[in-house]
C-alpha cells in the first residue's frame, strides 16, 4: 500500500518536470501538441495526488498502523469523521492536501481555458507545475506521509484533541485551500508577465481565479474565528496572533486586488499595482505557511516544527526574486492608458480603498514581524499585542466602511459633489440617526462612528439596489422582487458584490458590538448558587463527571434567566481524551438571548462540584455569523453562471454604470 502511495508521488514528480518542459518547449517552438501535453500533465499530477491521498485515507479508515503517519494521528476508538480529519491534521498530510487542492483548481483553470488563451496557459501551466513540483519534492523526499513504522503498534496515538471538533473538519482544510488556490492567479500573472500578453483578455481570466481564491481564503479565516469562539473559550474570535495575522495578509491584498482590477478593466490604469498585488498575495500565502511551519515568530498556535521551514524559506525567496524580476522587466509594458480625471470619481475611490487595504496589510505585517526586526536591529526582542492592531487597524477599517458606502455611489471619471450628496441623502440620514442615538444612549464615540459607518454602507447598498430595480421596473414593468432578481442576474459581479458589502457591514456591526460592549466576569460557584452578570442571572444547576467513549467529560449545567424568565439551560463542558489527559479541551456553553450571546466557560473545578466559571456577555456576536452567511450568499450570486453578460461587458465602453462594475 505504502509503495503505491509513494510511487504515485514519485511518478507525479517526474510528470510535473515533464509537464514544465513540454509546456515551455511547446510554447517556444509553437508545438501545440506539447502545450496540450503540458496541461494534461497538470491533470495527471492531480490524479496521481488523489491516488496517494486515497492510499492514505484508506490506511486511516482501516487503521493500518504500520503507517507512522496513521499511528501518530489516529486510534481505533476515534469516530470515523475524525479519522478522516486526521488525514490533513499533520505536516505531511497537509502538504498533500495543499497539492491536491491546487491540483484540482489548476486542472480546471488550465484545461478549460487552454483554447481561449493558447499563448498564456502553457506558461501558466509550467509555473504551476513548478510549484506542484516543489510540493511533490517535499512529499517524496522531505516529509513523506508514507513513512513506515518498523513494528506496527497495536493502536495509534489518537488525534490531537483540539482537532476533534466539527469546526476542525472544515476550518483547516478551507484555510489551506485558500492558501493553495492563490497559486492559480499567481501562475496566470507570472505567465502574463513572461509572455508579455498583458492586454485586457487575461484580466478576466485572472480576476475570476483571484476571486475564487479570495472567497475560499475568506471563508477559511471566517470559519477559524467561528471555531475559536466556540472551542477556545477566551470569549473572542480573533486574537491578532501572528498565525492569524499571516492568514489575513493575503486576504487583504487580494481584497485590494479584486477592487482595483475593476479600474484596470474599465480604465486601463493601475496595471503595475494590480500585478504587484497578485504576486504579493501568493507570496504572503507562502510567507504565512513559512512562518507557521518554521516557528520563527512566537505564537500561541503551536505546530509541529520541522526542517520544512527551511525549504519554504527557499521557495519564498525564489517567488520573491521571480516576481520582482519579472515586474521590473515588464515595467515598460504596463503603462497606464489613462489618468485620474478627478478626485471625486469611482477610480479614485478604488485607489483610496486600495491604499487603506495596503495600510492595514502593512501595519499587520509590521506588528507580526516586529519581534524579528527589533531582535535584528536592537538586539532585544520586542512584541506588540492586540492593542497595537486595534489602535491602528480600527480607524483604518472605519475609513474602509465609509468608502464601502460612498464608492458605489461615485460615477466613473468624475462625480459632481452635489449629485453625490443627493444620492447619499438616505444613507447619511440613517447614519446620522444612528450616531446621535448611540452617543446619547451608550457614549463610546468610536463605537458610534463605526456603527454609523456600517449602517451608512448598508443604506448605500439599499440605494443602489433600489435605483437599479426602479430603472428596470420602469423599462420592463416587473414587480420589485422580480426586478431585483433580474438585476442581480444581469450583473452578478456588481450586485453580488453589493451583497458581500452588506455581509461585511453586518459583520462589522457584530465586531463593534462585541469589542466595545463585552462584559466579562470570573466567579466561583457551588451547585445551586447563582450570579448576576449584566441583566442576566446565571444559575449553576448541576455538576457531572463521566467517562464517555473516548473521553472523560466534565460538565456544568447553567440556567440562564432574565428577570426570572428562563432563557434556556446551557452546558459548559471539558473533555479529557484518552491518551491526551494532560490536554483537556473545551466546549463553551453559549445561549443567544436577543442580541447577546451568553458565553460560559468552565475553567477549573473541584471534586465537590465547586466550579470556576468564566462568563462573558458578548453583544451582537451572532451578527458576525449571520453576516458571514450573507457574505457567502453574495459569493454565490457572484459566481452564479450568467451566460452572455460576460461577453457583452467586453464591448461596453468605459462609462456609465449600466453594466457590470464588479465586486465593488
Amino acid at each position: 500500500m505504502a509503495q503505491l502511495g509513494h510511487g504515485a508521488l514519485l511518478i507525479a514528480f517526474a510528470l510535473a518536470i515533464f509537464g514544465i518542459a513540454a509546456s515551455v518547449f511547446g510554447e517556444r517552438r509553437r508545438v501545440p501538441e506539447l502545450s496540450i501535453a503540458g496541461v494534461r500533465a497538470v491533470v495527471g499530477v492531480t490524479v496521481l495526488l488523489f491516488v496517494a491521498a486515497a492510499v492514505l485515507v484508506t490506511a486511516f479508515i482501516t487503521h493500518d498502523f504500520s503507517f507512522s503517519y496513521v499511528s501518530n494521528r489516529s486510534s481505533t476508538d476515534m469516530p470515523l469523521r475524525y479519522v478522516v480529519t486526521a488525514f490533513y491534521g499533520g505536516q505531511e498530510g497537509s502538504l498533500l492536501f495543499w497539492a491536491m487542492v491546487s491540483g484540482v483548481l489548476g486542472s480546471i483553470a488550465f484545461a478549460r481555458n487552454r483554447a481561449r488563451f493558447p499563448r498564456l496557459v502553457p506558461y501558466a501551466a509550467a509555473v504551476f507545475l513548478a510549484m506542484q513540483g516543489f510540493f511533490l519534492y517535499m512529499l517524496c523526499f522531505v516529509a513523506s506521509p508514507f513513512e513506515m513504522n518498523a513494528i506496527a503498534p497495536a493502536d495509534g496515538r489518537g488525534l490531537n484533541p483540539l482537532l476533534r471538533d466539527p469546526g476542525m473538519l472544515i476550518h483547516p482544510p478551507m484555510l489551506l485551500s485558500g492558501y493553495a488556490s492563490f497559486s492559480i492567479p499567481f501562475s496566470i500573472a507570472v505567465a502574463a508577465l513572461i509572455s508579455g500578453r498583458m492586454s485586457t483578455e487575461w484580466l478576466r481570466f485572472v480576476r475570476k481565479w483571484a476571486l475564487i481564491a479570495w472567497a475560499i481564503l475568506g471563508t477559511g479565516i471566517f470559519l477559524g474565528g467561528w471555531w475559536a469562539y466556540h472551542v477556545l473559550g477566551w470569549g473572542g474570535y480573533w486574537g491578532w496572533d501572528p498565525v492569524e495575522n499571516v492568514s489575513l495578509l493575503p486576504w487583504l491584498t487580494a481584497t485590494a486586488f479584486i477592487h482595483s482590477i475593476i479600474v484596470q478593466e474599465r480604465r486601463g490604469m493601475l496595471k503595475v499595482w494590480n500585478v504587484g498585488l497578485l504576486l504579493a498575495s501568493f507570496t504572503l500565502a507562502i510567507f504565512g505557511t513559512f512562518v507557521v511551519r518554521s516557528g520563527l515568530i512566537q505564537s500561541v498556535h503551536s505546530f509541529a516544527l520541522s526542517n520544512i521551514g527551511t525549504y519554504f524559506l527557499g521557495f519564498l525567496v525564489a517567488i520573491i526574486v521571480l516576481s520582482v524580476g519579472l515586474m521590473i522587466w515588464r515595467l515598460p509594458m504596463m503603462q497606464s492608458e489613462n489618468s485620474f480625471d478627478s478626485m471625486l470619481s469611482r477610480e479614485s475611490g478604488f485607489l483610496l480603498n486600495n491604499l487603506v487595504f495596503a495600510g492595514i496589510a502593512f501595519a499587520t505585517f509590521w506588528g507580526t514581524v516586529y519581534p524579528l526586526v527589533s531582535e535584528a536591529f536592537r538586539g532585544e526582542t520586542m512584541t506588540v499585542g492586540p492593542p497595537f492592531y486595534e489602535q491602528v487597524n480600527g480607524p483604518l477599517f472605519l475609513i474602509l466602511l465609509i468608502l464601502m458606502g460612498v464608492g458605489p455611489l461615485l460615477a466613473w471619471r468624475r462625480s459632481e459633489f452635489s449629485t453625490l450628496l443627493r444620492s447619499m441623502r438616505v444613507p447619511l440620514l440613517v447614519a446620522g440617526i444612528v450616531i446621535v442615538a448611540m452617543l446619547a444612549l451608550l457614549g463610546q464615540p468610536m463605537a458610534a462612528a463605526g456603527a454609523a459607518a456600517a449602517v451608512f454602507s448598508i443604506a448605500a447598498v439599499g440605494v443602489e439596489y433600489w435605483r437599479g430595480a426602479q430603472l428596470r421596473r420602469k423599462n420592463s414593468g416587473d414587480g420589485l422582487p422580480v426586478a431585483i432578481y433580474r438585476l442581480a442576474r444581469r450583473d452578478p459581479r456588481r450586485y453580488g458584490g453589493y451583497v458581500v458589502h452588506l455581509g461585511i457591514a453586518v459583520i462589522a456591526i457584530g465586531i463593534i458590538g462585541s469589542t466595545f460592549f463585552q462584559t466579562e466576569r470570573r466567579v466561583v460557584l457551588r451547585e445551586g448558587e447563582s450570579v448576576n452578570v449584566a441583566e442576566y442571572t446565571l444559575v449553576y444547576q448541576q455538576f457531572n463527571d463521566v467517562q464517555r467513549g473516548d473521553a472523560r467529560v466534565v460538565s456544568t449545567t447553567i440556567d440562564v434567566q432574565v428577570d426570572g424568565d428562563d432563557k434556556g439551560v446551557i452546558e459548559a463542558k471539558r473533555f479529557f481524551y484518552t491518551g491526551f489527559e494532560n490536554q483537556p479541551t473545551t466546549q463553551v456553553a453559549t445561549e443567544t438571548v436577543g442580541f447577546d450571546d451568553v458565553y460560559v466557560m468552565l475553567t477549573e473545578w473541584e471534586a465537590d462540584g465547586t466550579a470556576n466559571l468564566h462568563i462573558f456577555i458578548n453583544p451582537l456576536v451572532p451578527w458576525i455569523w449571520s453576516g458571514g452567511l450573507v457574505y457567502l450568499f453574495g459569493m454565490v450570486v457572484v459566481f452564479w453562471p450568467s451566460p452572455q453578460v460576460s461577453r457583452l461587458r467586453a464591448t461596453v465602453p468605459a462609462r456609465g454604470k449600466a453594466f457590470g462594475d464588479a465586486v465593488s
Binding site: S94, V243, S302, S339, F340, S342, L352, P387, R655
Partner: protein, 154 residues
Amino acid sequence: MRTESGHGPSIITPMEARRRNPWVNPKLLIVGAILLATVGFLVFNAMGSSMAYFQTVGELNASGKGLTGEQIRVGGGVEPGSIEERALSDELRFTITDGTNLLPVVYDGVVPDIFKEDVEVVAEGTIGPDGTMTATKLLTKCPSRFEDGSAASK
C-alpha cells in the same frame, strides 16, 4: 496634470498624449500622502503604547528590564514544585525558570488548560518592587507532541 495635455475630458486620447499623461493627479497624491501619513502616525503611536519586551528570565535579570514598571513578556518553564496549592478563587502563584534563574509570578486570570510543572509559558505583566511579576496574561506553549494543521490554544 489631468488637463495638461488638453485631452482630459475626452474619452479617446491620442497615443502620444497618453504616453505623456502621468496617472498621478496632484490632489490624489496629496490625499494619498495624508493617508500614508495617517497609517504611519497610527503605527508609531500604537507602537509606543503596546510594545513589550520579550525576554527569558536570565535576560531579564541581566538587563534589569521591568524594574521601572514597563510591560514585559517573560518566557520560560514552570519550575517543578513551585505551583502553590490554592482555592479556586485565589490567584495562581508559581515560578518561571530558565534552568538557573527564577522569577516568581502572581497571576489572577484564567489558567490555561495545559498549565502544569515544566510546561513552557509566556507571562505578560509588570514586575513589582519585591521582584514578583504580576501577570495579566499567561500563555502556554503546547508540548512538542502537539501536531496539527492549524489549531490554537489560547
